[in-house]
């Protein structure tokens, strides 16, 4: 026994398949000393041989667990935690999450470095944020985005039907959008349909977002479980490009928690966060 050279566990009694849940409850109360004196005496007298062995075993395991040393953070871990929390707490507006040192374990630094401050988004992002979105029925078509500009959304066969949503001056022109489908394969031509939206544009779009855009169930999207707090009011899967021209398949979620709205963009390869924006 490697647990403790001075302390061996008693033999394991047979399984308690025939013990009722009620009996088991009293048994564990007895083991842990939660019965009063008279109850203890009565119950002890009623124990079978197997139950006595079980009592011995359970008490031995409890003792081992009880003796386990308290866990503490190291100074480095503590500093990481506080830096991360304080950085977030002190940055209520917007930030690139990856700049926080303690997020290292979750941030895709390669993607982050490429994305930098001038993240380039698929034009659908702006449309989703400002006009709402509708996916094809059944939700499994999360990668086929149909903008609900009209009552009957259309699904274009490819990105070729996508129209630019931003004019040359950078102003959003959402009315021109009809539909967009994620490019089927990566090519230079695909990116010709993309529109650059910088951080300030995302902020503007956030302010324009109409209310409740629950046009589909975002829970089916990849990386949905990364969002542990707040209500995901919508999300979508899209192709993004970085400054370096690299394609980044990512999911965008808009999350509301009552006090603020957050847009998160997560790399679908490992669900690492490459962008976070709060307003």
């Amino acid at each position: 026994m490697t647990v403790d050279n001075d302390r061996e566990l008693p033999d394991m009694p047979p399984e308690f398949a025939d013990v009722s849940p009620e009996r088991m409850e009293v048994l564990i109360d007895f083991i842990d000393g939660r019965l009063d004196e008279s109850e203890t005496a009565i119950f002890e007298a009623s124990l079978t041989e197997n139950e006595r062995r079980e009592v011995e075993l359970q008490r031995a395991v409890r003792s081992i667990l009880d003796d386990a040393p308290a866990v503490k953070m190291t100074d480095i871990e503590r500093a990481q935690l506080r830096t991360a929390i304080h950085d977030v707490a002190g940055t209520r507006s917007r930030r690139l999450a990856g700049l926080l040192p303690a997020w290292q374990g979750r941030v895709n630094w390669v993607a982050l470095g490429s994305v930098a401050a001038s993240l380039i988004l698929v034009v659908a992002a702006a449309t989703v944020l400002s006009n709402g979105v509708r996916f094809s029925d059944g939700d499994e078509g999360a990668d086929a985005i149909a903008i609900a500009e009209s009552a009957a959304p259309t699904t274009a066969p490819a990105a070729a039907s996508t129209t630019t949503a931003m004019d040359t001056a950078g102003a959003l022109n959402l009315e021109s959008l009809q539909s967009i489908e994620e490019p089927a394969e990566e090519s230079a031509a695909d990116f010709s349909t993309l529109t650059i939206i910088r951080e300030r544009d995302v902020l503007e779009v956030l302010d324009e977002t109409p209310g409740p855009p629950r046009a589909y169930n975002p829970d089916n999207l990849e990386c949905r479980d990364e969002i542990i707090d707040g209500e995901v009011v919508f999300g979508y899967l899209g192709a993004w490009t970085t400054d370096a021209g690299r394609r980044l398949d990512a999911v965008l979620f808009k999350v509301e928690d009552g006090r603020r709205t957050t847009v998160l963009i997560l790399d679908t390869r490992d669900c690492s966060m490459v962008f976070e924006l709060e307003n």
Partner: protein, 187 residues
């Protein structure tokens, strides 16, 4: 100053109150997460997420239970989320083997780790058993508090602790084969 007072101050805009809350609970939250997740990096991530949730949702604490109960429940749920994500990513169940020991781990870290055999044994428990055993037998919470933290009846806590200890004993016994001993299986 009580946790409740610190929460009130934080909600009123006092960032130092949040810092004090974090300082008061960070080790215990981290310890809970480490015992649940069995990895310091993941435990630190979960601890961060727990305090970020506190930061963003402190207004949802209404004082109906002890603040620590509320916070540890957030921590447990966060750990469950991390475990689910990990399970999905690795496409296998909870680890049935020990990860290799990091040769670069410092003495300071080693000093606060659980003994490897106990840690590995805990890792083999199903999450619901592990959380009950950790809370009651390692963190010292009462059955009532554990029931609150896990949002299950007290009877279920008892059952999970009982079965968790039993499974733990079986695994611990397997780490070091013992001499064959006659076993009375007659019941």
């Amino acid at each position: 100053m009580t946790d409740r007072e610190l929460i009130d101050r934080f909600l009123a805009g006092d960032q130092n109150a949040f810092t004090r809350l974090m300082q008061a609970h960070e080790d215990r939250v981290f310890g809970l997460c480490l015992r649940m997740l069995r990895d310091r990096g993941k435990a630190l991530d979960a601890t961060q997420d727990t305090f970020l949730t506190l930061y963003r949702k402190a207004d949802r604490y209404h004082g109906k239970s002890a603040f620590s109960t509320w916070l540890y429940r957030v921590a447990i749920n966060t750990c469950y989320d991390h475990m689910r994500k990990e399970k999905r990513k690795r496409a296998d169940a909870l680890p049935d083997h020990l990860d290799p020991v990091d040769p670069h781990v410092t003495d300071e870290m080693r000093a606060v780790e659980l003994r490897p055999d106990l840690e590995a044994a805990l890792a083999t428990l199903q999450p619901e058993f592990r959380s009950a055993v950790v809370l009651v037998d390692m963190e010292g919470h009462s059955l009532e508090t554990a029931a609150q933290l896990l949002d299950i009846p007290i009877g279920t806590v008892k059952s999970r602790v009982f079965r968790g200890r039993r499974n733990l004993a079986a695994v611990l016994g397997n780490f070091s084969p013992r001499p064959d001993t006659p076993r009375d299986d007659s019941g």
